[in-house]
Amino acid sequence: MSRRRHADENDGGQPHKRRRTSEPVEIEDRLESLICRVGEKSTSSLESNLEGLAGVLEADLPNYKNKILRILCSVARVLPEKLTIYTTLVGLLNARNYNFGGEFVEAMIRQLKETLKSNFFSEAVYLVRFLCDLVNCHVIAAPSVVALFENFVCVTQEDDVPQVRCDWYVYAVLSSLPWVGKELYEKKDVEMDRLLSQIDGYLKRRQKTHVAMLQIWSAEKPHPQEEYLDCLWAQIQKLKKDRWQERHILRPYVAFDSVLCEALQHNLPPFTPPPHSDSAVYPMPHVIFRMFDYTDAPEGPVMPGSHSVERFVIEENLHCIIRTHWKERKTCAAQLLSYPGKSKIPLNYHIVEVIFGELFQLPCPPHVEVMYTTLLIELCKLQPGSLPQVLAQATEMMYMRLDTMNITCVDRLVNWFSHHLSNFQFRWSWDDWADCLTADPEKPKAKFVREVLEKCMRLSYHQRIVDIVPPSFAPLIPANPLFIYKYEDENSSTLPGYNAAITVGNAIKNRASNEEILTLLKDVPNPNHEDDDDEGESFNPLKIDVFLQTLLSLAAKSFSHSFSALAKFHEVLKTLTESDEGKLHILRVVCDVWKNHPQMISVLVDKMIRTQIVDCVAVANWIFSQDMTHEFTRFYVWEILHSTIRKMNKHVQKIQKELEDSKEKLEKQHQKDSGDEEDMEEDSQLEEQIERLQEKVESAQSEQKNLFLVIFQRFIMMLTEHLARCETGGTDLNTPWYKNCIERLQQIFLMHHATIQQYMGTLENLLFTAELDHHILAVYQQFCSLQA
């Protein structure tokens, strides 16, 4: 068998699947395939394909009814961008087989209940929308949908429930109206008016503390970052004013009107929203990302206004396409670009806006960041004559608005832009951004360019960066990532420890053992203590300097060399960093020697945490220490902090999982127990293990809580100091440093919100009390409102 049967030179494709199956399974697969693929590019029209498929399915109903029901329910849930295609199909089936229509509706309601109980709220919205569109296909009677909506809106009258719960039910109603508003108003306008007025009342009284934390730009111009329900409400209001005329949605059922209106309709069974429970996790509110409007697309179709329902539907559909196809970038790009109705809209602008909207979404993007970079590259490949220009335009716009962009989003923009450039030979019109050279280097634009060049360098090498930017940009070019050795040459011979450094260096080169090194280091005097104890074991910064500087200088060649060095002399390092001061100092030294190579600092800190040379709290303290004041606004520092927090979180999760697994094992064992001695032995062993793990979990959680406490405490101290100084000095508190600091505090909450939720009680009691300056307290209150 040859090693390479298929040349898969670049990215993967669909391999040929051969089926070795018996008949019924083949037929079921065929049914799945037929249903899933309807609506895709075809030589026949959509209508004739739907007609044909309805016929096939009708014929298969006697034998495969349940399978067909299951498939249709699934596509309703997971292919929302093809909503109207499938509602039409169901409409045709219902016209041919009334009972099937009824069973389908019942199955959908069951599915809706399940998705709500399982916290799958996005999918639940798609199901509600599907049921609503079935009104247009004469499958469901309009009044029963109005009744469903009335039950949904009743949720806003519930007491003592989180606002996000009521939000969802209102959203489910409003977001279905573009599809079914017209029909519902034609049949039940009085009831609908009452519904809308209740919704209006709710929207007016709900809290919007969260908005400030979720906005990508803090400025209102040129595009306000509207709260999602406010925006949707405005869109529905406008739709109502236009008498529910909606022309964008593709409605295949219109072509079948004569057939469908002969069908008998079903009523939705009465549906009560499941009551609130503590395990319910409702979707967080979000903000609508807008960066383009009708003035931006220079030629061709005009972009629908921000409060038009078309805008909502287009964005919804594009988000759904990404949600369905994110794992397959070629398919995703192709599907986005073949959006039905694309000739009437500036599709490239919509796509770019939706993609950046997801990338910048706060707290987190729906998918891993790198997906968006690669998706944009695929789109550029498919539309080389138009998409790159839109992307350049977007980048330019975002550069111009950096002053008010949330720092978390700036981080993501830096990562995206540098990675993108690295795929296009770093070609960019840097001169267009010359204004960043004259401004204060702490201002967002200059910082942005500096961080972008730093990241570009990490993906290439120093000279490359020098070559790609105009000479005027020299001040922003990152430093050449060279090691700085304190004991470099004879000029440093007067430094304390110089001789020891030479000795240690030679010892390392001669493959000395950990013990031998420790012996050598005993002779290094301690600059801090006159009365060092006999063992010389207390914290001695000079020892650390001498050893670590020398070791790292010998291992400076690559990451692997440095990792080997840390591994080889793990024992020495553990000894030197037994105390908290030792841990702090080792971090200081790493930063000193590798000041020019932040990437190396990151990987070394990561390694030292993983090998327990330092702990997470030490890293947090180091970042907030005096020595790091100059680095405090550098991007890499925050990468290190968030990476540290994530390691802590993963550590806790890992032990929790071990505990869960052991508990499950014990359960299973109890079930099989026959009461004899062997079983008792095993049981008690497991019980011991569970106890130990329980302790481990508690200790890990305590460490985790402490980490957050330290971080928040330090933030509060720094911010309070700054605010007090500004007040007494009468200066404006809104310096670039302050903006960076307060947004970094926000970022901690945003990026680790799920974990921090557990410790809210402690945080409120110990740190975020009413005595705190209101600027700082506001951040905490915004965070609380995310799940309130």
Partner: protein, 164 residues
């Protein structure tokens, strides 16, 4: 609550390729089993000048990288254009297959593939001249991979061929 629909669960970028390591100790089934569980990727078509640091930066975009092993010419012990990237979790490696495979590093389209796991010795090229097999026989000129392929170099330099 997955969709249970085979037709929609396509994730072709993470499927294992046709390549099987001929030096693998074990049978085809065992190798495939490891490939399907692996968190290690083979990365090919690198420039000889691409550094571990660059690989780290790029591949960190899909998750925390545990280890990188740069492929070496067996004789010269210098980089010969491939490496292994090991992640802590399979999920992060999958995202690399989905989003980093087929994109550029050092201006070259790199290719990633599942690897059954690093073993000592696998960091060396298996070509006769010490580099990768593909560099023995290729006929194009690639300045980032030593110029012409080894065979082509010999053909272009007949005096070299006649020297014993």
């Amino acid at each position: 609550m997955s969709s249970h629909l085979n037709a929609l669960n396509s994730d072709s970028y993470i499927e294992i390729s046709q390549y099987r390591d001929q030096h693998f100790k074990g049978n085809r089934y065992e190798q495939e089993k490891l490939l399907k569980q692996s968190s290690t990727l083979y990365v090919g078509n690198l420039s000889f000048y691409t550094t571990e640091e660059q690989v780290y930066e790029l591949f960190s975009k899909s998750g925390d990288v545990k280890r990188i092993i740069i492929g070496l010419d067996k004789i010269k012990k210098t980089a010969c254009g491939f490496c292994f990237v090991e992640y802590y979790t399979r999920g992060d490696a999958e995202n690399a297959m989905r989003f980093i495979n087929g994109t550029r590093l050092d201006d070259r389209i790199i290719r990633t593939d599942w690897d059954a796991g690093f073993r000592e010795g696998r960091q060396y090229g298996r070509g006769k001249s010490g580099g990768q097999v593909r560099d023995e026989y290729r006929q194009d000129y690639d300045p980032a991979r030593g110029g012409y392929g080894k065979l082509t170099q010999l053909q272009r330099n007949p005096e070299g061929r006649n020297k014993f």
